[in-house]
Subunit: 369 residues, 2 copies
């Protein structure tokens, strides 16, 4: 029987995630599996938790990687915090804000969506006006909107919520590891991320953190969390010193996350952010030098997710196919109203290196007419 | 900074899962990550689906690995099939039947639990009587109860449901790959499993399959599935030919599952089942030769999960600690009413080999007074 795994080639991953994985993270994945209650494995779990707290700039005791991809992190935040009828304000300017509306709506939240143009940031004046219609139980926003390449003003929105009881919920899937995330300083109560973006780890885990305010809301629920698998009151009993078995942890994926976090902290978060910024600046200079134009205005651009307009008359899908087939480079297309109109070029984690930018620019030059 | 991964030792995993992982499955985990929409990765997905259909003995089009551990498979089956108020009968004789009650109850099902002693199989006469109180929307049972080592009569319960509209939901987490699972012949409508038992793959994925009857119930729902992440109507649109992006698939874990399934099919399922049976018989003979007694009566014993009573006056935890520390062997303790009273000795997948049985028996002999 033919083994398809023998045919896997190394592709330069410059799409919206997954990103390139460093050799030692692959090695970590392949370390011998330990039991999920093995004493040595428990020390690795403790270390993952403290490294996550460091990278998130938080003291939150409830800081754990959830056993699912980034979207499971989104599901986990909402399902633990929403009770039917709760008023929830979602600030939306892309696919992932829309997804939040869908997730919260399915859980019975009264969802109020404040929508902005895709490619523009969340506007603070309109947000301030919307907040006056509250109080809201939860206000949610995406830090780095992967569908558009926009950075939203997460710190400023957090300031607006000072002195209220509102839970502030932030998607940091694409931002964590590539730009600063200061959970405590920015008054964020519930945050989730993913491993396959700027942490340079394969997809499969969702780092999550809850503040004391969020944990108190969870503990004060009138009804059980309607999702046993993601119930944080049970999961924390495994990750804290009680070590009560909940579900079998994805042991080898956790090894990979351990190594990925260790690499970011070894390099230093500030150095990693600078590397993302420099790769981004080189990419934008190269694209603009070829006459292409960026979708997002300069102050709101993400370094790790670059959206560039396809020139008129170009079949964007055939460009992506040629990059993949002839140059072994993956980039992403647009989603929703941006489908067919933009390319999404990821410079996430291990991908964010000058040599990759140069290789991509040369390939694109060769493919464009 | 000290790297804890350097200190991971190879442990003989003879607990209730995870099980030992073959070298080529570790190698598969460490293959280069591809994008989740990469054309080559899509061929690997198709192959995983058809291998799962083969091992499950099903033609079900809706056959996918869910992006979470076995418990996410349980959650997925119930959350897609239960609508509030649905009457659900759960046949329970251990931890995992109890967990089904909790999961279904959180989703608003009217749960009727038929409970049996832990260590005894589900009784067919009592089940028949309970079914007369129906009709039930769903009848659920665990095939291989990992907490007790009992094999439940899954085929016979399926026969009782012939000619009804009832959805038959089966937990095959510990059985799949170690004993026969015939989804279509046994009239099973919804089934989930896990990767870390008899498939010899690290934990992190939950194979799942829905019959046409289950798929029709999903499609006829009056309300949206109250869980976006596990909504099978969205997930199948990624796994079928539409390839609509849902969430980023756990690519490297899927490589590992591919290789694990390939190994089972290369050996041949019947040969794998015989290997489990032979290892089990050698283990039981060895334990009984040492004067120990099995918890479960012979006709209902699982080959891959062996429960043996701790002798009076023995501190069961200190035995397990010594096995782990001095002999690098992991076994499990009892749960719930069996805590402190039994050991659970796994012979799952790659672990189910005579050399492992011999090594364990020698170690146990050395540790027991």
């Amino acid at each position: 029987m033919k083994n398809l795994l023998d045919g896997i080639e190394e592709i330069l991953l410059m799409g919206p995630g997954p990103s390139c994985v460093p050799p030692t993270v692959y090695e970590a994945l392949a370390k011998p599996t330990l039991g999920h209650l093995d004493p040595y494995f428990l020390t690795i779990m403790d270390s993952i938790k403290s490294m996550l707290q460091g990278l998130l700039n938080t003291k939150n005791a409830l800081t754990v990687p959830m056993s699912g991809t980034g979207s499971a992190g989104m599901e986990a935040c909402f399902v633990n915090l929403v009770e039917p009828g709760d008023p929830v304000l979602i600030l939306t300017n892309g696919v992932f804000g829309r997804r939040m509306q869908d997730v919260a709506g399915r859980l019975g939240a009264r969802v109020e969506a404040l929508e902005f143009d895709w490619g523009k940031p969340v506007d603070l004046d309109q947000t301030s006006d919307a907040l006056k219609k509250g109080p809201f139980s939860i206000v949610a926003v995406v830090h780095a909107e992967t569908s558009t390449g926009v950075r939203n003003p997460v710190a400023e929105i957090g300031s607006m919520l000072a002195g209220t009881d509102t839970i502030y919920l932030v998607d940091a899937v694409t931002s964590l590891g590539g730009i600063e995330v200061r959970m405590d300083d920015w008054r964020i109560d519930a945050l989730y991320s993913g491993t396959q973006k700027c942490l340079s780890c394969p997809p499969g885990l969702a780092p999550l953190s809850f503040s004391e305010r969020a944990t108190a809301k969870l503990n004060a629920r009138k009804s059980k969390v309607p999702n046993w698998y993601l119930d944080l009151s049970l999961i924390t009993n495994y990750w804290n010193q009680n070590r009560v078995y909940h579900h079998t942890a994805p042991v080898n994926m956790l090894y990979a996350l351990y190594e990925a976090l260790r690499l970011v902290l070894e390099e230093g978060p500030q150095a990693a952010f600078a590397r993302h910024r420099e790769a981004h600046e080189a990419l934008v200079a190269g694209l603009e030098g070829m006459g292409l134009s960026m979708l997002v205005e300069k102050p709101f651009r993400l370094p790790m997710l670059n959206t560039v307009r396809c020139p008129d008359g170009i079949d964007e899908l055939s460009v992506r196919r040629r990059l993949r087939q002839e140059f072994k480079i993956e980039i992403g297309g647009g989603l929703g109203p941006l489908a067919g109109k933009i390319w999404r070029i990821g410079l996430m984690g291990h991908t964010a290196r000058r040599e990759n930018v140069d290789r991509f620019l040369q390939a694109l030059q060769a493919v464009l007419p």
